[in-house]
């Protein structure tokens, strides 16, 4: 050519010839970013050991992924962030008191059995982090069950909150906090309080919302999880209907259905429906599950209507496990795993109507 440009290396391929910038790793790292505030709060709330649990979970997930890919001779993809997301979620849904081999095993099982055995990212049926969580729950129940939740540290925020709440009754602020979680007690039907007012035994709904309560490392602060979740909704990564339907249904079910769980007696004042409903949403894994796990791209339905059905199923199974089942206080993880199993069926029956066709 007259301009002297080299035109011998023209690339030829089919359209489209441009791509949106966002790739898989961008999505994954934004999810990591969205979880970070809740993770940092967990460390602040529970102490440095909680940080160690999370770091071990993340590193174990990444190492397991890299080792597997090395052994299989495929490209090592840990920089795409998907193993980091799995590890981070594993760490955040474990109690801060677990021995460090627990996050290691959970992440390893989650990544290897939960994901890589199925063919890696995109091919797995179940949420890898929850596979890991379910495994250690069964393998190490003594470390992962709710009865050993730690007592809150007497941090300034919690003290203030509790001081406010207990103003007048003279009880020392941070000593009231429980050994067993409110969810655990609800499940065994012992919500009735000795002093006659059930609600007084527990942190306020406000404290639950802020997260100054016992629980798993990253699941206590509903506020920060909500901020991260809203960010993902804004980015278009998750469908707002999933957490809305999940948490809304759970609230309604808890608030209005299970009245039979509350023992009645002259000296007992049952908690209000509001209190009961809010506890189901905020005291436990429902918020992190609804925003970050029931929205997992790979393991949940692909259409909006399918996702709503999925969320509804998660909420109902969670409610059944928590409120109707006996002895097992937390149901979020198993509800999501069960609904993961139903995802292909939901997808099949929620396929959109193709342009110009009549719905069969």
């Amino acid at each position: 050519m007259s301009q002297g440009e080299d035109l011998s290396r023209l690339s030829v391929a089919t359209s489209p010839h441009i791509r949106e910038e966002e790739d898989i790793s961008a999505i994954m790292w934004w999810v990591v970013a969205a979880l970070t505030p809740a993770a940092l709060f967990g460390v602040w709330n529970f102490g440095w050991y909680a940080a160690a649990v999370v770091v071990v979970a993340v590193v174990s997930a990444a190492v397991a992924e890299a080792l597997w890919q090395r052994i299989c001779g495929t490209a090592v993809m840990i920089s795409d962030g998907s193993a980091v997301v799995t590890g981070l979620l594993v760490g955040l849904v474990l109690p801060p008191s677990v021995p460090l081999y627990v996050p290691m095993v959970a992440s390893g099982v989650g990544v290897l059995i939960g994901k890589q055995l199925f063919g890696g990212l995109g091919c797995n049926i179940w949420n890898p982090a929850l596979v890991g969580r379910a495994f250690v729950q069964i393998a190490y129940p003594q470390h992962v069950t709710l009865s050993v939740w730690p007592v809150l540290r007497g941090s300034s925020l919690s003290r203030v909150l509790q001081d406010v709440r207990h103003a007048g009754d003279g009880s020392a602020a941070h000593e009231v906090v429980l050994g067993a979680t409110p969810l655990a007690e609800q499940a065994v039907g012992s919500l009735a309080a000795t002093d006659g007012v059930a609600e007084a035994m527990y942190p306020s709904v406000w404290a639950l919302f802020l997260g100054n309560i016992p629980g798993s490392i990253g699941e206590t602060s509903a506020l920060l999880l909500l901020i991260g979740g809203l960010f993902l909704i804004w980015k278009g990564y998750i469908n707002w209907k999933v957490p809305a339907v999940f948490l809304g249904t759970l609230f309604l079910f808890a608030a209005f259905v299970p009245t039979w769980k509350i023992p009645t007696g002259e000296d007992i004042v049952a908690p209000s429906w509001w209190f009961f409903g809010m506890y189901q949403i905020f005291a436990g894994g429902a918020v992190i599950g609804a925003f970050f796990m029931a929205t997992d791209m790979v393991t949940t339905p692909i259409t909006s209507s399918g996702q709503v059905i999925f969320a509804l199923g998660c909420a109902l199974i969670t409610a059944l496990i928590r409120l109707v089942g006996h002895g097992f206080p937390e149901g979020v993880a198993y509800s999501i795993l069960l609904m993961n199993t139903a995802t292909p069926v939901i997808d099949r029956y929620t396929r959109p109507r193709t342009y110009g066709t009549v719905k069969k």
Partner: protein, 441 residues
């Protein structure tokens, strides 16, 4: 009410480089290569041979069937060869090579004014056929065929498509701005040919100036209105445009006439007026030569048969282009050579300085393609089937309804070549069906 279709994407428009540049005439080059197949359908049959003298506007290719289009000499001069030459599809196709004598001498009877007021539907169709008109938005479907709906499919509405939703392209935009009368006049003739009672001019809201000029031109036509649509690709795809403007969906496997609509590109309307009012066949078009690697991007009025290299000498480069695309970057065809001629469907030539990678990963089911798909199929699932060669399974979930707009592939974060697989899947299915028909005989 917001007029739009479902799905779609909004790539960077990239039209700023050329949208304010007036159309410039590009002088016909010394040698022109005019393919006999520039349209969908059967190739035209050569009506000239090497050594023949031809005049501008003279027929050099006769339609090779009903779904075919005539081809005309874009300049006066001498036929130096009728031989296979590289076409924009990447294959060699029969072409008439003309040595330009520089005189631009019109053929007898062409370029003369004709009174259009008495033209009836049949005559307009015949003129469109004789003038070699094809859809100029890019698909290049013969216009006279679209103007010939069967009696049981009455056309109620003519939709004049000025959406120009592809990034980079501004040829239609400039035409609407500078020559709206040609478009309006041609639209009236097209409406007359199909007895359409209404005309709607439709364009995207990123061209408010063009909406104004069209509005002015349309105000003289009692049955015509102008609608402005949201800027969203593929707004200009026939089925999506119909859905956006009328709310109707063309039945799967059907044509716009099934819902009483005829869609014509603005350029085609302008060409129809040239053919009817001046007996000027389709021998030139406006094309946008642009892109990050284009030195001086321009909207050029170019003779059909002009080789890209001639245009590049005028436009120049800004660094070596990595890819040369005929048409827009979403649906256009990559060219492997600069010795390819401008054809009736060359809405633009886009010089890209970077190309997408060719490494893809497993589908992570993010659902972006499902939300982007303007025909509401599930590209992710279809791609998972086709990746493994399951063409029948893909067909069962409406692979054939894909309009190949490329939205799914554009948004895919796993970089999956979804639309590429679908094109291959459709081809395999068609081939298999052809074989089955053979076998049944």
């Amino acid at each position: 009410m917001r007029l739009t279709f479902s799905g779609g994407v909004h790539p960077r428009e990239a039209k700023d480089a050329t949208k304010a540049l007036p159309i410039e005439a590009f002088e016909a080059p010394q040698v022109l290569v005019v393919p006999l197949l520039q349209h969908i359908g059967a190739p035209a049959r050569a009506a000239v041979k090497a050594g023949d003298k031809v005049a501008k506007g003279e027929t050099i290719g006769e339609p090779g069937g009903f779904i075919s289009a005539a081809v005309h000499a874009p300049v006066s001069g001498t036929v130096s060869a009728v031989e296979p030459r590289l076409g924009p599809g990447g294959r060699k196709i029969m072409a008439v090579v003309i040595e330009n004598d520089g005189e631009d001498r019109w053929a007898d009877g062409t370029n003369v004014k004709r009174d259009t007021s008495s033209l009836d539907a049949d005559t307009i169709r015949n003129i469109a056929s004789d003038a070699g008109l094809v859809g100029m938005g890019g698909a290049a479907f013969p216009t006279h065929v679209k103007l010939s709906p069967p009696d049981n499919k009455p056309i109620e509405l003519l939709l004049v498509n000025g959406a120009e939703c592809e990034p980079f392209l501004t040829a239609d935009h400039r035409l609407m701005l500078e020559e709206p009368e040609r478009i309006a006049f041609g639209a009236q003739l097209a409406a007359r040919a199909v007895s359409a009672a209404r005309i709607i001019f439709a364009l995207e809201d990123n061209k408010p100036d063009a909406a104004e000029t069209l509005e002015k031109a349309a105000s003289k036509i009692p049955s015509a209105t102008v609608v402005t649509l949201p800027t969203r690709y593929p707004q200009g795809a026939e089925k999506q445009l119909i859905e956006a403007v009328t709310g109707r969906q063309v039945p799967s496997g059907g044509l716009p006439m099934d819902v009483g609509v005829l869609v014509q590109n603005v350029g085609t309307c302008a060409a129809l007026q040239d053919a009817c009012a001046f007996n000027v066949p389709l021998i030139e078009r406006i094309t946008t030569v642009t892109g990050p690697s284009a030195g001086r991007p321009a909207n050029l009025r170019v003779r059909i048969g002009t080789l890209y290299e001639a245009l590049f000498e005028r436009v120049g480069f800004a660094g070596a282009p990595r890819r040369i695309v005929m048409g827009g970057p979403m649906m256009g065809m990559a060219q492997g050579s600069v010795e390819v001629p401008v054809t009736k469907g060359t809405s633009g030539i886009v010089l890209l300085d970077s190309v997408p990678g060719d490494v893809w990963r497993a589908c992570i089911r993010c659902g972006k393609c499902v939300r982007a798909c303007p025909v509401s199929i599930v590209p992710s699932q279809i791609s998972v089937f086709l990746e493994r060669g399951y063409v029948d399974e893909a067909n069962e979930i409406d692979m054939l309804d894909c309009i190949e707009c490329g939205c799914c592939t554009y948004v895919c974060p796993a970089r999956r070549p979804i639309v590429n697989w679908i094109k291959a899947g459709k081809a395999e299915l068609a081939e298999r069906r052809a074989r089955e028909r053979e076998g049944a005989k």
